[in-house]
């Protein structure tokens, strides 16, 4: 049975796992629960592999593989949203990332969550997340994609608030949910607009219609349909992928268990925005404005988050901000038209960022729940595997060749440099790369080097079980070799990844302009520059945190305002609190609650009730309780009816005596 004809199996398996665990798992021992969860995810991973194999071995005449229609979900007038799944090159990449990384993280979780309560709940949520994520990446129309989109949002909410007894956790969950709503609002508006324009939301038909040259190219500052639609979609993307100005939920999302941070808030869900932008690139390329906005926002976010990451002390928060900044990179790539580069970075980032989080989790596990880097140090000898894997991940993210991060980031910077007016973007990107390597190595040094700053008597540092180390190693390997597929591009060869995605993604416009040789030389140069900047960051970190450990304090003192700003994350949360939340609270308390609800609604209801009571009080005196009087009343009624019939022929139909 070719799995391609039964794509639904891939998302269905996790759903089943989730249902089984969620409904029955409560009483079961952990082994059964995680065997169910792992079985579901693993099977869907295998199915995905098989599907991909079949897809890649598909004869060219079959391509593009048509969307599989399973059933009509919504049919209203001309609107039709079916449960359609599709698979193409882009989906293949996402599929591999989601199922593969997801599977690894499931394995990791069995070890990490072993001693937590609500074990079955955790895995049920996790499987549910897998289901929705798969729906998201495999959906063949925006509506279904939106289902997955909302579903992953829900799961992220559930999992951030997993320790719902902790107020901070539940608050973080709510924050994530609400902030995402804002983005989703834009996303839905975008969908509506698209439907109004194209009368369909199926990708194939919609993009076919959109790529029709009749739609002109909307220049900068020209707000046509495409621009507005794309900006609205991008609004959703900023919400989901934590871009400016909606990034605020992601750092708080670190309240959730570490595997969740790794899977949802680093590897898969937060990249959904990038995926959507890439998926609908045909719309984006129509609109200069949208592209620029995407690029600028991405770039700004990248730098912004990186700068905040410099001074964070919570290990997971550092990683969170680094995630935000890396996502910024991806959007930058998309913005400059290098969608394939963006997706490429998405993939590599999934590897090494997942690895980073898992390693951080392992560290936290080792430290017995401690997350503050200032209370760590000197762990390199105690937890070797964690240390090595994390080091690899750090090198990867810092962009040290030949690790994965180097290639993807280099591709992005290169394409950013190439488009006209792209140099500022390139510069900021480069600076961000420097910062990235700096704060990552800062993390490494604070965590693994120097003197232990924790109480050795209480904290017994211990290496994590293999169920956790296995995924670490696997991901480490992936983060090393993950980028090599694009390696040939560096020395002049074809870019396999880009050419693989070519059927789906158009290559960046800028690239064709410059001739190959020049482009190649330029790329080499840029690569060297990037590596140099990364090394510079590394060196700075080394100098600050190994040579003069006292130095950072002094610097913090000397540049107090900057430092405070960074530590307080540019006061963004406070800003939002002041500008949005407070007025909202005021309105809802004083207007909606005190006036509308209490005064108006309750008033009306109670008024009606009391009115009824008073009327009843007055009328009940006619109820003498004497049957004979009632009889008389009945007779009177009959008389009235007869009289009406008798004297007023017009009323006969009304009283039913039709002659």
């Amino acid at each position: 049975m070719p799995i391609l004809d039964h794509l639904w199996i891939i998302p269905l398996l996790p759903l089943l796992g989730s249902a089984i665990n969620g409904l029955l798992g409560g009483k079961w021992p952990n082994t059964i629960v995680n065997s169910v969860a792992l079985g579901a995810t693993g099977l869907s991973f295998l199915c995905a592999l098989e599907a991909v194999r079949e897809f890649l071995t598909l004869s060219p005449d079959k391509l593009p593989f048509p969307p599989q229609h399973y059933f009509d979900w919504i049919v209203a007038g001309s609107f039709r949203a079916g449960f359609d799944l599709q698979i193409d090159q882009l989906t293949v990449v996402m599929l591999m990332v989601v199922t593969g990384v997801g599977f690894l993280i499931h394995i990791y979780s069995t070890g990490y969550m072993a001693h937590e309560s609500g074990y079955y709940r955790f895995f049920s949520y996790l499987n549910l997340f897998m289901f929705f994520m798969l729906v998201l990446v495999m959906a063949a129309n925006y509506v279904l994609l939106f289902v997955g989109w909302e579903g992953v949002g829900l799961c992220s909410y559930l999992l951030i608030g997993f320790y719902f007894l902790k107020k901070s956790a539940s608050d973080a969950g709510k924050k994530a949910f609400i902030v995402n709503r804002i983005g989703d609002f834009g996303f839905m508006l975008g969908m509506f607009l698209l439907f109004r324009t194209f009368h369909t939301l199926d990708f194939t038909t919609l993009f076919a219609a959109a790529s029709n040259p009749a739609w002109g190219h909307e220049a900068w500052g020209q707000f046509g349909t495409f621009t507005i639609a794309c900006l609205l979609l991008f609004m959703g993307a900023t919400g989901k992928s934590a871009q400016l100005p909606l990034y605020v939920w992601l750092p708080d999302a670190m309240e959730g268990p570490t595997p969740v941070s790794a899977l949802i808030h680093a590897a898969t869900m937060v990249t959904a925005g990038v995926y959507v932008v890439a998926r609908s690139h045909i719309l984006f390329v129509h609109s200069e404005t949208a592209m620029v906005v995407v690029a600028v926002v991405g770039c700004a976010t990248a730098f912004f988050a990186a700068s905040i990451g410099l001074v964070q002390t919570d290990i997971k928060r550092v990683l969170a901000y680094s995630t935000v900044s890396q996502l910024g990179y991806m959007f930058l790539a998309c913005g400059v038209g290098a969608f394939s580069a963006g997706i490429f970075h998405l993939m590599t980032h999934a590897f090494f960022k997942a690895l980073l989080f898992l390693a951080a989790g392992s560290v936290i596990h080792a430290m017995g729940g401690e997350q503050d880097m200032r209370k760590m140090g000197g762990l390199s000898t105690k937890i070797k595997y964690t240390y090595r894997t994390m080091l690899i991940a750090t090198l990867a993210i810092a962009g040290i060749p030949p690790l994965a991060g180097f290639f993807s980031k280099d591709a992005i910077l290169f394409s950013a440099f190439q488009i006209e007016g792209g140099h500022p973007l390139y510069a900021v990107g480069l600076l961000t790369a420097l910062l990235t390597s700096f704060y990552m190595f800062r993390l490494i040094y604070l965590t693994f080097y120097g003197q232990p700053r924790y109480d050795e008597h209480h904290v017994h540092v211990h290496e994590s079980p293999w169920s956790m180390l296995g995924p670490l190693v696997t991901l480490a390997v992936l983060s090393v070799i993950g980028g090599w597929i694009a390696a040939p591009a560096l020395w002049g060869g074809p870019d396999y990844f880009a050419s693989f995605l070519a059927p789906v993604l158009t290559s960046p416009q800028g690239a064709e302009a410059v001739n190959e040789a020049a482009a190649h030389q330029l790329e080499i140069i840029l690569a060297i520059v990037a590596v140099a900047s990364a090394l510079l960051g590394w060196g700075a970190a080394y100098w600050l945190y190994i040579r003069q450990p006292a130095k950072p304090e002094q610097m913090a003192k000397s540049m107090r305002p900057v430092y405070n700003t960074l530590v307080n994350k540019y006061y963004v949360d406070e800003f939002y609190a002041a500008v949005i939340i407070k007025p909202l609270m005021w309105i809802s308390t004083n207007v909606l609650w005190k006036f509308v609800d209490v005064a108006a609604i309750d008033g009306t209801v109670n008024g009606i009730a009391s009115g009824a009571t008073s009327i009843g009080d007055t009328v009940r005196h006619t109820q003498s309780g004497n049957t004979r009087s009632y009889a008389v009343w009945v007779v009177i009624g009959a008389l009235v009816v007869i009289a009406v019939i008798f004297f007023w022929p017009a009323a006969r139909p009304v009283v039913g005596m039709v002659r």
């Binding site: 003498s624 004497n626 004979r628 009087s629 009889a631 008389v632 007779v635 009177i636 009959a638 008389l639 007869i642 009289a643 019939i645 008798f646």
Partner: protein, 167 residues
């Protein structure tokens, strides 16, 4: 004065007298008996009109079942002569005029009614049992089923009502 007319007047007089007696009598049994008389008279009238089936049903169901039930209940409760309480002023005052007015209206309506009412009813023109049954089981089959359901419900209700709660 055809014989039918004579029979009609006899039966009509019987019916009216029975109805009057129903009102005059103070013991429920006598009222019941007079009502039975009315019903039998009506049955006779139906026969006179030639609808014998209805006449038979009238006697079997009304005379044989319903009124027996009444008599049975009266015997069961050993109902005595009704007492002349006058709690309801309204009934005392408005009763007679209302009834008269009602009668007047009905009479007027009939007097004013069109020629179809003036035309005579010759006995046995139609309504042989077959016709009624075909109509009942073809055109009115759903109402018929409904009535059967109604009867069922009524039986249950009667049982529930009348049974002494076991405590």
């Amino acid at each position: 004065m055809t014989p039918q007319l004579a029979i009609f007047f006899v039966l009509a007089a019987l019916a009216v007298l029975g109805a009057l007696n129903l009102i005059i009598q103070r013991h429920p049994i006598h009222s019941a008996l007079s009502l039975i008389v009315v019903m039998i008279a009506l049955a006779g009238l139906y026969l006179l009109m030639g609808s014998e089936f209805v006449a038979a049903v009238q006697i079997i169901v009304y005379g044989g079942a319903i009124m027996v039930l009444f008599v049975f209940v009266i015997m069961l409760l050993n109902a005595g002569v009704e007492e002349r309480t006058n709690v309801s002023k309204l009934a005392g005052v408005a009763g007679i005029p209302l009834a008269v007015a009602l009668l007047g209206f009905l009479a007027a309506a009939i007097a004013r009614s069109n020629e179809s009412a003036q035309a005579g009813v010759e006995a046995g023109t139609l309504a042989n049992t077959k016709e009624i049954s075909t109509m009942l089981f073809k055109d009115f089959v759903y109402p018929f089923e409904l009535t059967s359901f109604l009867i069922l419900v009524a039986i249950l209700g009667a049982i529930v009502l009348a049974q002494r709660e076991k405590s």
